[in-house]
C-alpha cells in the first residue's frame, strides 16, 4: 500500500500557471481550475504551482509542464482547451499547436537580462523556502556583516538610479539619510505605480514579494531605519494579497521584526493602501498621504531624506529600485554596474504596452533601442498597422515619432531628444491615433489628478483642455489658439510645484512638434 502511494506520487506532473493579475484577467484561474478538475477525473496526477508571470502577456494563460527538469510551455490555454491538451499528452510535453517549447529558451525570454526579475514567473511567490533556494536573502546576509556606510557605498558604486522615473542616484539619497542623527528614520516604498503603460512594480510585488521585502530590509539596516511602509495603490488588490502574505511569513521566520536574522537590528514593515490619487506617485504627496492627510505636494527643501515621513529622515524609493538591492548586495556593485551604458547603469524592466503584438515585460541592460523593443521583442503593432508613435514614461512622457526609434534607452539620450525614460513603460499607438486628442487627454488627465496646491497645474490644465477643444474644432482662431497653448505649456512647465503640472506639457508639446498635421486638419 505504502509502495503504491510512493509510485503514485512519483507519477505526479508539476504544472505551473501564473497567478499574476494580468494572467488572471485573461482567465488563468479558470484554466488552473480546469487543470485540477480534468486531472482528477482522468486520474492523471498533477501538482499545480501558481507562479508570477513570465511577462509574455500575449501567451497568458501560459501553462508550463515540468518535463525532464525543463519547463515546457503551452499557451495561451483557455479552460475549454485543457481537456484536449491533457489527452494530447501535455503532461509529457507532447507536441500540439499550442506547444511553445522550453520556456527559458524562447527568444523573448532568452534575449533578456533578467536580474531584478530573475525569480518572477519561476517560483511560487509566497513560498519563502523557494525564495531562499533561488538566492534569496543572500544580499541581506551580506549587508548584515557590513557597516551602514559600506552598504551605502556599495549602492552608490553600483550606479543605481531611482527607477520610479526621476533617476536620482539611490546611494546619494541613502547617504543623506545615513548621516542624519535622530531617534527615528523610515524606509518608504513608493508602490503607487500610476503611470499608464507601466506594470513592472505590480508584477514584481505579485511575482516575487520577498525581493522587495529584502531590499527594504537592506535599506533599513543600512541607514538605521526601524520601520518601513509600502505605499501601495488601491488598484492592485492582487499585489496587496501577495505582499501581506509574504510579510507575515517573513515576520514569523525572523526575516522581519525586532531581531532580523539574529542581528539585533529591528525592521518592521507594513503595507498602507492608497486611495486612487495619481499624485501620490510624487514622493512628498505620498508622505502626506501616509500621514493621513490630503496628498498635497510639499515644498522642497527640506528633502524627504532630511525631513520626510512625520518629519523624520526617510528613504523613499520606487519598488524596482528597492528590489534591485538584494542582487546588488549579493553579487557586488561591479557586477551590476557592468550592465548598461553611459551613466545609466544596470538593467531596466521595460514594459511593452498599448497597441503591441507581444506586450509584456522585457528586462534589458540600458542601451537597447526602442526599435529593438518594439519590433524584435514586441513584434510590431497588435492591429498590424504601422506604429506611428510611442509614449514612453507614462502620461507625462513625450510622444516619440518613428524617426527617433533608434534612440537607445538611456536617461541622457532620452533627455537629449526631449523625452524621458521614466519608469520604463512604452505605450505603442498605430496610425489611427489622433495626436490632438492625445494632447487634450494629457491636459484632461492633469486636471483630474492635480492636487490643487499650485495654480499653473490646477487651473492651467483645465484651460489647456479648453484651448485644445478650440484647436480641434478648427476655425480662423486656430493659429492664435496654438500660440496660446504654447504659452500655457510654458507657464505650467516653469511655474508648477511638481512634475505633474511641470511635465504635462511634454506629451502636449511633443505631439505638436512631431505631428503638427493633427492640429491643423479639419475633422
Amino acid at each position: 500500500m505504502a509502495g503504491a502511494q510512493v509510485s503514485a506520487l512519483a507519477a505526479v506532473a508539476r504544472v505551473y500557471v501564473s497567478r499574476d493579475a494580468a494572467a488572471v484577467a485573461l482567465g488563468a484561474d479558470e484554466t488552473a481550475a480546469a487543470l485540477v478538475d480534468a486531472s482528477r477525473s482522468s486520474g492523471a496526477g498533477i501538482e499545480l504551482v501558481r507562479i508570477g508571470s513570465r511577462g509574455m502577456v500575449w501567451l497568458e494563460p501560459l501553462v508550463e509542464v515540468e518535463v525532464g527538469g525543463k519547463r515546457v510551455g503551452y499557451g495561451p490555454v483557455t479552460a475549454g482547451q485543457v481537456k484536449a491538451l491533457l489527452e494530447a499528452g501535455m503532461l509529457q510535453g507532447a507536441d500540439h499547436a499550442l506547444r511553445l517549447g522550453v520556456v527559458d529558451e524562447l527568444p523573448y525570454i532568452a534575449r533578456q537580462e533578467r536580474l531584478t526579475f530573475a525569480r518572477v514567473g519561476v517560483i511560487d511567490p509566497v513560498d519563502l523556502d523557494q525564495y531562499i533556494a533561488h538566492d534569496g536573502y543572500k544580499g541581506l546576509k551580506r549587508a548584515l556583516g557590513m557597516t551602514g556606510a559600506q552598504v551605502v557605498q556599495e549602492v552608490t558604486d553600483s550606479g543605481l538610479r531611482g527607477r520610479g522615473g526621476a533617476a536620482f542616484p539611490t546611494g546619494i539619497k541613502w547617504k543623506t539619510v545615513l548621516d542624519q542623527q535622530t531617534d527615528q528614520k523610515f524606509v518608504v516604498c513608493n508602490a503607487d505605480e500610476g503611470d499608464s503603460g507601466t506594470f513592472s512594480d505590480r508584477m514584481l510585488m505579485e511575482g516575487d514579494p520577498y525581493c522587495l521585502i529584502e531590499g527594504m530590509t537592506i535599506a533599513g539596516v543600512a541607514v538605521g531605519a526601524t520601520q518601513g511602509y509600502i505605499y501601495l495603490r488601491v488598484e492592485y488588490p492582487h499585489a496587496e494579497i501577495a505582499l501581506r502574505a509574504a510579510i507575515a511569513t517573513a515576520k514569523q521566520r525572523g526575516y522581519l521584526g525586532r531581531d532580523v536574522l539574529g542581528s539585533g537590528k529591528t525592521f518592521e514593515l507594513d503595507v498602507r493602501m492608497g486611495a486612487g490619487a495619481y499624485i501620490c506617485g510624487e514622493e512628498t504627496s505620498l508622505l502626506e498621504s501616509l500621514e493621513g492627510k490630503r496628498a498635497e505636494v510639499r515644498f522642497r527643501p527640506p528633502l524627504p531624506a532630511i525631513k520626510g515621513l512625520f518629519g523624520k529622515p526617510t528613504i523613499i524609493n520606487n519598488v524596482i529600485s528597492l528590489a534591485s538591492l538584494p542582487m546588488i548586495l549579493e553579487r557586488g556593485a561591479t557586477f551590476y554596474k557592468d550592465y548598461g551604458m553611459g551613466r545609466s547603469r544596470g538593467t531596466l524592466p521595460i514594459q511593452l504596452a498599448g497597441n503591441i503584438r507581444h506586450g509584456g515585460l522585457v528586462e534589458k541592460a540600458f542601451g537597447v533601442t526602442l526599435r529593438e523593443l518594439l519590433y524584435d521583442f514586441g513584434g510590431g503593432s497588435a492591429s498590424g498597422r504601422p506604429i506611428r508613435t510611442v509614449q514612453v514614461g507614462g502620461p507625462l512622457g513625450a510622444y516619440i515619432p518613428e524617426s527617433q526609434f533608434d534612440t537607445p534607452l538611456d536617461y541622457e539620450a532620452f533627455t537629449a531628444i526631449g523625452a524621458l525614460v521614466g519608469h520604463g513603460g512604452i505605450v505603442a499607438f498605430d496610425d489611427t491615433v489622433d495626436m490632438a486628442r492625445m494632447a487634450r487627454y494629457a491636459m484632461e488627465f492633469c486636471a483630474v489628478e492635480s492636487c490643487g496646491k499650485c495654480t499653473p497645474c490646477r487651473i492651467g490644465s483645465t484651460r489647456g483642455v479648453e484651448v485644445l477643444d478650440r484647436i480641434i474644432a478648427g476655425g480662423p482662431e486656430r493659429k492664435a489658439n496654438l500660440a496660446l497653448l504654447e504659452d500655457l505649456c510654458d507657464t505650467m512647465q516653469y511655474g508648477s510645484l511638481c512634475g505633474l503640472g511641470g511635465m504635462t506639457p511634454f506629451p502636449v508639446q511633443s505631439a505638436l512638434k512631431h505631428f503638427p498635421e493633427d492640429f491643423s486638419r479639419d475633422r
Binding site: A21, A22, A25, L26, V57, W58, E60, E193, G194, D195, S196, G197, T198, F199, D201, R202, V234, E235, Y236, P237, H238, R272, M273, G274, A275, G276, A277, Y278, S289, L290, E291, G292, K293, R294, A295, F310, Q351, L352, A353, G354, N355, I356, G359, G360, A382, S383, Q391, P395, G425, V427, A428, F429, D430, V433, M438, Y441, F445, V448, E449, C451
Partner: protein, 159 residues
C-alpha cells in the same frame, strides 16, 4: 447598500479604536469603514473626527481628495473602466462609451436597478492586454464592447 443605520456607529467606533495606536491612521480607518459599510457616511465622519481629535472638515477634506472614497452608497458591484493611454491605444474609448450607454449612466453614477456603479480609473496595470475593466476586485483584460456585455450578464446573474 442601505441608508445610514444607527447600528453602524459602534462598528465605526471599534474601527477607529483598533487603529488608535497607528501613526497616520486616517487612511487605514477610512479604508476599513468603506470596506465594511460600502461608503463613508457623514455620521461616520463625525465619529472618526472625534476619535482622532481632528475637525470634521479635516476628515471631510481627506475623503473628498481621494477618488476612491465614496460619500454615498454605491451599487451592488463597482465597475471600473480604464481610461488611460495604453487602453486608448487599443480602442478603450469604445468600451468606455459602450459601458456608459449599456448601463445608462455616466461615471460616478449607479444603474437604476442598483446593480452597478460606474467609475473611471486611470490605469489598472494591465497595459499589455487592454482595454481593462475591473469589477469589484476582479480584473478583466481585452474587454471589447461585446465582452463587456458578456461580463454584465455574468455579474447580473450573481447574487
Amino acid at each position: 447598500m442601505a441608508e445610514f443605520d444607527q447600528q453602524w456607529l459602534p462598528i465605526v467606533d471599534s474601527i477607529v479604536a483598533s487603529h488608535a495606536d497607528e501613526p497616520g491612521a486616517l487612511l487605514p480607518i477610512l479604508h476599513s469603514v468603506q470596506k465594511r459599510l460600502g461608503y463613508i457616511p457623514a455620521e461616520a465622519v463625525e465619529r472618526i473626527a472625534l476619535g482622532l481629535n481632528l475637525s470634521r472638515a479635516e476628515v471631510h477634506g481627506v475623503i473628498s481628495f481621494y477618488h476612491y472614497f465614496r460619500q454615498h452608497p454605491p451599487g451592488q458591484h463597482i465597475v471600473q473602466v480604464c481610461r488611460a493611454e495604453a487602453c486608448q491605444a487599443v480602442q478603450g474609448e469604445a468600451t468606455e462609451a459602450h459601458a456608459r450607454t449599456c448601463l445608462g449612466i455616466d461615471f460616478h453614477g449607479t444603474s437604476s436597478d442598483g446593480k452597478f456603479s460606474l467609475e473611471a480609473v486611470y490605469c489598472l496595470g494591465n497595459c499589455a492586454a487592454g482595454p481593462s475593466v475591473m469589477i469589484d476586485d476582479r480584473l478583466y483584460g481585452r474587454v471589447t464592447p461585446a465582452r463587456f456585455d458578456e461580463l454584465m450578464n455574468e455579474w447580473r446573474a450573481r447574487k
